[in-house]
Structure formats: structure tokens, C-alpha cells
């Protein structure tokens, strides 16, 4: 049973002992073979690692593409590609972490069984590491295939006046090998560090003994940064040079990412407290408490969207602003169109990553809490209540964060572009597309994890005795 405390490692257990030591390979196979566990526990980590690997390779390929360019606009695009990386690194790391956690949690499931079979703690650890790494490796290989399959599709994206071509984001075999090994290592390390039997919240964090606190200092520092960024942008006045404009946008972006990271968790906890006070139903109560349990984890999950929706506003306005310069020459018009494409691609990628992390994290959270869900079902809590609580604990912070950071973005570009440009049809369109697409993607991934919950309830024998 997953709630069972893992046996304390004894000095002798890690070293080899002639007796009671089962062959690792056979044990690993016994536990990993189809049917030994619910298929979800094997399939999910593989899928999660596959998606992580594929997205990582696509992003890497895209960035490398810019760095291989030698035309006059190359430096600007290289800078923008770094910006894109900065934007994508957080959601990508979150996704990788979720995948690793998902495979490592199998350790708890199998621990008791293995001990009963006479395995020592050392054996248990080894089997777990072998298993996690193997799953990650399989996933990474599948991810490479996914990446290869997606290359022609990504190749349709127009850049520099025409489609980039099916091999444009090819990273080369060395980079692929590096990514596969890296993903497998990530899995191995997380399973060694191991997740002992822990109680986790729907957001997939370990519940602490004491309720966490967030401090006002963050808010203060955040406000100061916003003020400085605002003043800087205001003093820039009317900008006619595209390069300076891009520089200003990058600066505003960097400042705001810092602010969002600082203030985000705190703002979320305030938001959850208000929600908690207002909660009337069980699902409202549970979701508010779930966010409060770890505002940082909630932030980590949806923070990528904060960056994205912030950038959507800044970039939407930016493109509208750039559009107004576009009459000068065809090469400049092309440059602007390329920037807009790049921004949109980055936004879409970021939403895809957040949606994947939510899906993976929710799958893990449901499986981690299976005992609790089964018991709540027995006590007579309707499935819809459990599902609503879970969905709310993700969608509420997401909405709050998306709207909050969009407002912050509008505040920052206001001195630069003025209200007319923020409200320009083109920028509004970009923003609207991003919001609708992003929210729909995340909601969809939550919907996709509902069958896991109903499956857990349909097979209660796999949890409680």
C-alpha cells in the first residue's frame, strides 16, 4: 500500500548479501510486465517523457536554426530565439519534472510487493532506478520519433518569406543523443532521490506538516521592479528604430518575468484565501485549500501561462506597433512578419507545454491519491465533486494568473505604445487567440485525465484492502 512507510535502510541492506537477493532483471520484469500494475502507471511516464523529449528537440532545433542564419537580421533573431528559450524553459522544466515524478512514484507502489518477495532495500532501489530509466529511455526514443514525424509539419511554418522546410529544425544526431541520454539521466536521478510514500495535493506536491507562508517582501520587491520598468519605458518616448524597440520589449519582458516569479505565488495565495473564505461547496473548499497548500507549486504549474499571456499582450502590441512602420520596405515588412510568427509559435509551444504538464501532473496526482479517492467514493462523495475540485484547483489559478499577467503586460507597454495600439484589432486578436487556445488546451488535458479517476474508482481493489 502506497501509504506504508518505507522501511528504514539498514547498514547491511545496501551491501550485497548472498541470501534473499533476487535477480534484478527478473524482479524488474515481474513488476514492469503488462498486467502487473494498472497500464496507466507504465504508459503515462512513457508518454510524458516522449512529449518532453519531442518538445525539447523541436525547441532546440528551432533555436539552432536561427543561429545558423547569416543574413542581416540574424543577430536580432538570435536575440529573439534566446528570449523564446527563456520563455519556454520554465514550462519545459516543469514538464520534465512531472514526468520524472510520475515514473519515480512507481517505487512506492512496488516497494511493499518487493519486500514481500524478500528483496533488500538495495535491490528495491536498484530495481526502481532500472525501471524508471528504462521507461524514460523508451519515452525518449518515442519522443525522437515524434520529433521526426513532426518535422515536416513544423517545416510548414513560414519564415523569411517561405516555409522553413522539413529539415530546418533538424538538430543533428549528436544533439538527439544528448537529449535522450539527458532525459534518461533525469529519470534515474529522480528515482534515486526517490519519492518516499508521501501525501500529495491535487497539484502534485508533497503536503507539509505546517501550512506554508508567503511573505509581503516579495510583493514589495515586485512593485519596485514594476515601477522601475515603467519609468524606463516611459522615458523612452517615441521610438522610431526597430532595434531599440525590440530592446525595450526584451527589457520589459525580463523585468516582468522577474516580477511574475516573485509575486506570482504570493498573489496566488491571496487569491486562494479569498476563495477559501467564499467557498460554499465541498469542491470550492477543497480546491481553494489545495491551492493554499502550495501556492508555489500552483504557480510552477501555471506560471508558464503567466509569462505567455504577459508576452501575448506585449507582443500583440509590439506587432501592431511594428505594423505601423511596415510601409518603409519589403525587407522590413518581412522582418516584422517573421517576428510575429516567432512570437505566435513560442506562445503556442508554451501553452502546449503547460497543457502537457497539467495532464501529466494530474495523472500522477490522481494515482497518488487513489486511496483517498476510493475512500471518498465509499463515503458517498460523487465523482463529479472530486473531479470538479481537481479541475478548479488548476483552472482557477490559471485564469487568475493569465488575466493578472495580461494586465501587468498592458500596464508596462502602455507608456510605450499608448492605449490605441494595445486596443488595436491586431494585438487584441493575438491576445484573444492565445487566451482561448491556452485555456482550451489546459482544460482539454484535464478532461483527458478524468478517465484515470473513474478508472481508479472502478478498480478500488488496487488500493485499499
Amino acid at each position: 500500500m502506497s501509504t506504508m512507510a518505507p522501511p528504514a535502510p539498514t547498514p547491511t541492506s545496501a551491501s550485497s548479501r548472498p541470501t534473499g537477493r533476487a535477480p534484478i532483471a527478473r524482479l524488474a520484469w515481474m513488476l514492469a510486465r503488462p498486467g502487473a500494475a494498472s497500464p496507466a502507471t507504465v504508459a503515462l511516464p512513457i508518454v510524458a517523457f516522449a512529449v518532453t523529449t519531442a518538445l525539447l528537440l523541436i525547441v532546440l532545433g528551432g533555436v539552432l536554426m536561427f543561429w545558423q542564419r547569416t543574413d542581416e537580421n540574424a543577430p536580432a533573431f538570435q536575440m529573439l530565439s534566446l528570449l523564446a528559450i527563456a520563455l519556454l524553459i520554465v514550462p519545459l522544466a516543469t514538464l520534465g519534472g512531472a514526468a520524472a515524478r510520475l515514473s519515480a512514484r512507481r517505487r512506492d507502489d512496488r516497494l511493499a510487493t518487493l519486500r514481500l518477495l524478500g528483496a533488500t532495500t538495495g535491490t528495491v532501489t536498484l530495481v526502481t532506478v532500472v525501471e524508471s530509466t528504462a521507461l524514460a529511455f523508451l519515452g525518449a526514443i518515442a519522443g525522437v520519433v515524434l520529433y521526426l514525424v513532426s518535422m515536416p509539419l513544423v517545416g510548414l511554418i513560414p519564415f523569411g518569406g517561405g516555409p522553413i522546410g522539413p529539415t530546418a529544425i533538424w538538430t543533428g544526431p549528436l544533439a538527439i543523443l544528448g537529449v535522450v541520454v539527458g532525459v534518461a539521466l533525469l529519470a534515474a536521478v529522480s528515482s534515486v532521490v526517490g519519492l518516499r510514500a508521501v501525501v500529495v495535493s491535487p497539484l502534485g506536491v508533497r503536503l507539509k506538516q505546517r501550512a506554508p507562508h508567503t511573505s509581503w517582501v516579495r510583493l514589495l520587491v515586485g512593485a519596485i521592479i514594476v515601477a522601475v520598468a515603467y519609468a524606463t519605458l516611459s522615458s523612452l518616448g517615441v521610438i522610431t528604430d526597430v532595434a531599440i524597440l525590440v530592446g525595450a520589449l526584451v527589457g520589459a519582458f525580463a523585468a516582468s518575468v522577474a516580477v511574475l516569479g516573485l509575486v506570482g505565488p504570493f498573489a496566488l495565495s491571496i487569491f486562494a484565501k479569498v476563495r477559501l473564505r467564499r467557498a460554499k461547496t465541498a469542491e470550492q473548499l477543497i480546491s481553494a485549500r489545495g491551492i493554499l497548500e502550495s501556492p508555489k507549486a500552483a504557480w510552477r504549474l501555471v506560471g508558464g501561462v503567466a509569462m505567455t499571456s504577459f508576452v501575448a499582450v506585449v507582443a500583440g502590441t509590439g506587432t501592431a506597433l511594428l505594423e505601423s512602420f511596415s510601409a518603409h520596405s519589403t525587407s522590413e515588412a518581412l522582418f516584422i512578419a517573421d517576428i510575429r510568427t516567432g512570437v505566435l509559435i513560442t506562445l503556442v509551444a508554451s501553452f502546449v507545454m503547460v497543457a502537457c504538464s497539467v495532464g501529466v501532473g494530474q495523472a500522477a496526482a490522481v494515482l497518488d491519491r487513489r486511496d483517498l479517492y476510493v475512500s471518498l467514493d465509499r463515503v458517498g462523495m460523487p465523482v463529479s465533486t472530486m473531479d470538479t475540485a481537481r479541475v478548479r484547483s488548476v483552472m482557477l489559478p490559471l485564469l487568475f494568473v493569465a488575466i493578472g499577467s495580461a494586465l501587468l503586460g498592458a500596464l508596462l507597454v502602455f507608456p510605450l505604445a499608448g492605449l490605441t495600439l494595445i486596443m488595436a484589432p491586431l494585438s487584441l486578436l493575438v491576445i484573444a487567440i492565445c487566451f482561448v487556445l491556452g485555456l482550451a488546451l489546459v482544460r482539454l488535458s484535464l478532461l483527458a485525465t478524468r478517465p484515470i479517476l473513474t478508472n481508479v474508482l472502478a478498480h478500488p481493489e488496487r488500493s485499499l484492502g
Binding site: T3, V199, S201, L207, K208, Q209, R210, A211, A279, K280, T281, A282, L285, I286, R289, G290, L292, E293, D371, L372, S375, L376, D377, R378, V379, G380, M381, P382, T385, E461, L464, G465
Partner: protein
């Protein structure tokens, strides 16, 4: 005697080729405390799950005499049985299984919230239950901040806060040390049979069983003995009404806690208040 509260007849339950219950007959009267004992794998949990409508038996029937009449559990839909469990039965599991991010009082209030009771009232009633079970002052603690015994009392409060008068407990003291076991079992007995309610408890512990009014022993899915427990004389169990808890209004709750017919909360708030 009048209609039994719970009447199980020739219960058969199979898991594939394993027969967990091989024709169990059991009649439980209101106010009894029944200990179900037996070796591991003898079918105790299976029996408890059939009696409480968690599982539908492959053969036989379970009849529950609710205040609105007798219902045959296997004729109810999943939704109706779910509702029956929520409103008429209470459950205590081996490891509390409380929602970890909620506080003690919120956990105890959960069944009331699910029945559509206003939050303030639900929490007030839950707090009264916690206080009656010796947890006064711990209402705002999160589950991780409680000891195993305290968490189990929260589970006991949750089981009964909705007015349930039939409580099912599966090894409620199984994860506790022996001193804490005694305390928790005390709390469980006082709050149930102590006020005329009915308790069905699966246990490994002879000491726990000895405090019940009746002991049913299972072997290989069959009842091999059904005897009066040491407590059948009621000498060691407080008399009905002795439990000075919020459920002193047990007459109110007994009368209203029932199955399918109404949509509202399973008890009247005013009735409960006036009953204090």
C-alpha cells in the same frame, strides 16, 4: 424483536475464482455493536462492503430498515447506494483517509457540505462533534498536524456528523498503538452505541472485539461463530444517552436520516439546535 436494522441472507461474493463470501447470514439489530473477526483473507472486509452497499453481492441480499421503510441494497442504483452511504451510513477506515489539505473541522463537515448544508452551519456542527470527541481546540489543524489517534477521531466525527446511525468501521485501530487503540475504540463506542446507534466493526484485536456486544467470527467466507461479547451485558459500555456529544439529538437524526426520498440535508438544523 421488530424488523432488524440490517438483514443479510446467504451472501455470496466471488472475485474471479476466489470465493470471498460463501453464504453468510447475519441479522443486526439497532443499538448493537458487532465485531467481525477472522484471519486475514477470511472475508471480513468483503462482508462489511456488502453490508454497507459498497459492493453488490453475487448472491443473497442485504435489507436495510431505513426510517422510510426497508430497502434491498442490491436493487438500488449506484447513485442511490452512494447517497445511502453518504446520508444513512458512516464509515471509518483503517487510516483515517481524510482529505489532507483540509482542516480537521472541514474534514468532519464534508458530508454535510456534500448534502448541501450551508458551510457555517456544517462547520459549527462538525466542531461540536470534534469537541465531543475530545478534539476541542484542534479544529483548525490540518490532518498532517494531527496524531494517528486524533485523525481517527476526526474520521469518527465525519462518519456521524450527517446523522448516520449505522457506522461501519474496518480495522479502525489497525494502524494505532494499543493505548491509542483503547482511546479511539472508547470514542467510537461512546459516540455510537453509547447513544443507541449501531456499530459494525472489523477487527483483529481481541481487546477491541471484547468491548462489543457481539462477536461474529469468519473463516473462509463463512460465519463459524456468533456469540455475545463481554460487553453484551452493557456493563462496560455507557448507557444510551451517556455520550454528551452533539448527537444528543439522536432522536431527531434517527428520524430523518434516511435514504432516497428527500433532496435536502439528511437532518434538520433547527431540530438539531433545539435538541442540544
Amino acid at each position: 424483536m421488530n424488523t432488524p436494522l440490517l438483514h443479510a441472507s446467504s451472501l455470496v461474493l466471488r472475485y474471479g475464482s476466489t470465493t470471498a463470501l460463501a453464504g453468510v447470514d447475519l441479522v443486526i439489530q439497532e443499538g448493537e455493536s458487532v465485531a467481525i473477526m477472522g484471519a486475514s483473507g477470511s472475508g471480513k472486509t468483503s462482508l462489511l462492503h456488502c453490508l454497507s452497499g459498497i459492493l453488490r453481492p453475487d448472491g443473497g441480499f442485504v435489507r436495510f430498515a431505513g426510517p422510510t421503510g426497508t430497502v434491498d441494497l442490491s436493487t438500488l442504483s449506484d447513485g442511490e447506494r452512494s447517497r445511502l452511504r453518504r446520508e444513512a451510513f458512516g464509515f471509518v477506515f483503517q487510516q483515517g483517509l481524510l482529505v489532507p489539505e483540509l482542516t480537521a473541522v472541514e474534514n468532519a463537515a464534508l458530508p454535510l457540505l456534500l448534502s448541501g448544508y450551508p458551510r457555517a452551519d456544517a462547520e459549527a456542527r462538525a466542531a461540536a462533534w470534534l469537541a465531543a470527541l475530545g478534539l476541542r481546540g484542534l479544529e483548525a489543524r490540518r490532518i498532517g498536524e494531527l496524531s494517528g489517534g486524533q485523525a481517527q477521531r476526526v474520521a469518527i466525527a465525519r462518519a456521524q456528523v450527517g446523522g448516520a446511525t449505522l457506522i461501519f468501521a474496518d480495522e479502525p485501530t489497525g494502524a494505532l498503538d494499543s493505548a491509542t487503540s483503547v482511546d479511539v475504540m472508547d470514542a467510537l463506542l461512546r459516540s455510537t452505541t453509547g447513544q443507541g446507534h449501531t456499530l459494525v466493526v472489523v477487527t483483529h484485536d481481541e481487546k477491541v472485539a471484547a468491548r462489543c456486544s457481539r462477536i461474529v467470527r469468519l473463516t473462509d467466507g463463512q460465519v463459524v461463530s456468533d456469540s455475545a461479547g463481554a460487553a453484551s451485558s452493557r456493563s462496560t459500555v455507557p448507557a444510551p444517552g451517556a455520550f454528551a456529544g452533539p448527537a444528543a439529538a439522536s432522536t431527531t437524526t434517527t428520524a430523518i436520516a434516511h435514504v432516497p426520498t428527500t433532496d435536502g440535508p439528511a437532518f434538520g438544523g433547527a431540530g438539531w439546535e433545539s435538541g442540544r
